[in-house]
């Protein structure tokens, strides 16, 4: 996807003499690398499709629950009491004009509004956890790479420890020991906090390693020496000189980390350490569907598809961003 960037007609026909004269009084605008990346990204259909799906999903998660029906209202009139599944609809899904995605077996709760509310939980947890891990990973990675020596040794060994941690077991155990009321949070707020902590605090080493590696090579570039020889302190070099150069890998890795975290949140919810029912979550809905999947396959397909489409969209966007920001890396 490295087709040449479109050059507007006027630009292609520019005469060198005009350029030297500065063409009138209009200031010459440079093409920043960000702008070039945007021009490339605009041509990548898959990435744009992913971006559109993500945008729709965010809008839906933010505003959908205000327009949809109550996700916790029971509609037991739609349930066949002997089979414990919706009476009508394709494959006993309960799909109808009132319930586009069908209803839950047993309780008859509306699936569409539960999926939308679940999207909200998934996205909130994934975004916050990614924010936590990207922040920690970037700061520690750039510090380790720039200063080297014992600082690097300490941070790199810390990364090893975090990566070796049995994360799933730790999460399950942590939910068991966290009190009902902590740091002013309770109920689902506290659960979301715990999920963000577990996912965010244990996935920073991945991005930390990438940032450290990039910093190691950037540190040897002469513009760092140039900045230091002008009297710049470490803070200036780290955050004004190095960080702008690390932005591309950080953005790409962030968009690729979000779907991983969505999956991780779904896995934790599936295991019952996510938000507390009746608050819906995609992983929780999947785990509810497991015992009856032969009777009511749709109940399992819907949350599965939701996870699949979301993760796919983020991955397509992330891949597109990587191609656009660094066409050499394949």
């Amino acid at each position: 996807m490295t087709a040449p960037i479109e050059v507007s007609k006027g630009e292609a026909e520019a005469h060198p003499e005009d350029v030297l004269k500065g063409v009138g009084t209009q200031a010459i605008q440079g093409r920043s690398l960000g702008r070039i990346a945007w021009l490339r990204l605009k041509r990548d259909r898959a990435a744009l499709g992913g971006a559109v799906v993500i945008a729709l999903l965010i809008l839906l998660a933010a505003f959908g629950p205000f327009f949809l029906q109550d996700p916790n209202a029971y509609h037991q009139d739609l349930i066949d009491p002997t089979m414990q599944r919706p009476k009508d609809g394709f494959l006993h899904s309960g799909i109808s004009w009132e319930h586009w995605f069908g209803v839950e077996p047993t309780t008859g709760r509306d699936m569409l509004s539960r999926i939308v509310l679940g999207a909200r939980i998934s996205l909130i947890v994934a975004f916050l956890a990614t924010l936590v891990s990207v922040t920690i990973g970037t700061v520690l990675g750039v510090v380790a790479g720039y200063f080297g020596g014992w600082v690097d040794t300490v941070i790199s060994r810390a990364m090893d420890v975090f990566l070796a941690f049995p994360l799933l077991l730790f999460a399950i155990a942590l939910v068991g020991v966290v009190p009902d009321d902590m740091l002013g949070l309770r109920g689902n707020g506290l659960r979301v906090g715990v999920l963000v902590f577990v996912i965010g605090f244990f996935s920073w080493p991945y991005i930390g390693r990438i940032v450290r590696g990039q910093t190691l090579s950037l540190r040897e570039r002469e513009f760092v020496d140039a900045s230091r020889s002008l009297g710049a302190g470490h803070g200036h070099v780290l955050f004004k000189e190095l960080l702008p150069n690390l932005l591309a890998p950080i953005i790409v890795y962030t968009t690729l980390l979000i779907p991983t975290n969505i999956l991780f949140e779904a896995a934790l919810s599936f295991l019952g350490v996510g938000v507390i029912p009746p608050m819906p979550s995609w992983g929780g809905m999947l785990s509810l569907a497991v015992p009856t999947y032969q009777n009511t396959p749709f109940f399992m397909i819907i949350p599965g598809l939701a996870i699949f489409v979301t993760v796919m969209a983020f991955n397509l966007l992330g891949d597109g961003l990587r191609d656009a920001l660094d066409p050499r890396a394949r």
């Binding site: 500065g22 440079g30 020496d225 140039a226 002008l230 009297g231 710049a232 702008p244």
Partner: protein, 326 residues
Amino acid sequence: MSSTPLLEVTGLQKHFPVHAGLLRRQVAAVKAVDGVSFSVAKGETLGLVGESGCGKTTTGRMIMRLLDPTAGSITFEGREISRLSQGRMRPLRRDIQMIFQDPYSSLNPRKTVGSIVGAPFHLQDIKTEHGVKRAVQELLELVGLNPEHYNRYPHEFSGGQRQRIGIARTLALKPKLIVADEPVSALDVSIQAQVVNLLEDLQNELGLTYVVIAHDLSVVRHISDRVAVMYLGRMVEIADQADLYTRPQHPYTKALLSAVPVPDPAARKERERIRLTGDVPSPLNPPPGCPFHPRCWKAQPKCATEVPVLSERTPGRSVACHFPED
């Protein structure tokens, strides 16, 4: 040339420790620079030449205090700067600036030319009369670039233009001394002359003093007033440019000069070419005595035991050799 040196370097050393084993004990040291002394008068250009790995860049970086010297002193305008903290060094950086070797890595690719050349003003908190933008555009004009290119990014320029941008940044603080580390070696030959001439014009216009580090002897000959030759972390010969090129006294200098290509085939036949055998010894384990003796065709037993001292034989002409040429 005035008699009080602007920069004086005495006995400068830089040893990089080598660690090994589980406890990371220091087992050896790379003696990158091992006792280098020279002085630069105001307004003159000193060329520092030598093979790759002889310590010329390390010397330059120590003068800039990008590296801390292991031993020795660096005196700038009579003030000892080799032990100053980075904080105390900051105001002095206005007077000592550096031109970097690789114009493709010395400019931050994420910044516009305006913010690269304007950075010195911000970092040193210097107020400019008509604002930073105007000052930057004047600098761009000074180095022969279009001031309208203020908002462009480095990747939109050629190598020669980029080097000019780097020079504009160097000049921003109106330094007294400029350390130029291989200022043209990364450029096309056709562009090299432009940049060398620019450096000379700027020197005449602004009264600059240069320490030019280079391995290209013809560039050094063109730009330098005096030339210092380094070998394996030591100074082997310092002399006026004309003297050094016509009558080299150290065998190493002689060998180095005989390697410069001669464009005239008739003259090429006449001149004596010296082919050095062997490699430069490792600075990890330099030979005892004169560092050059294993490759020197004039070596005597004395050379393997006694280190020759850099001594002034005639005024302005120092050689570190037991048996110098005449």
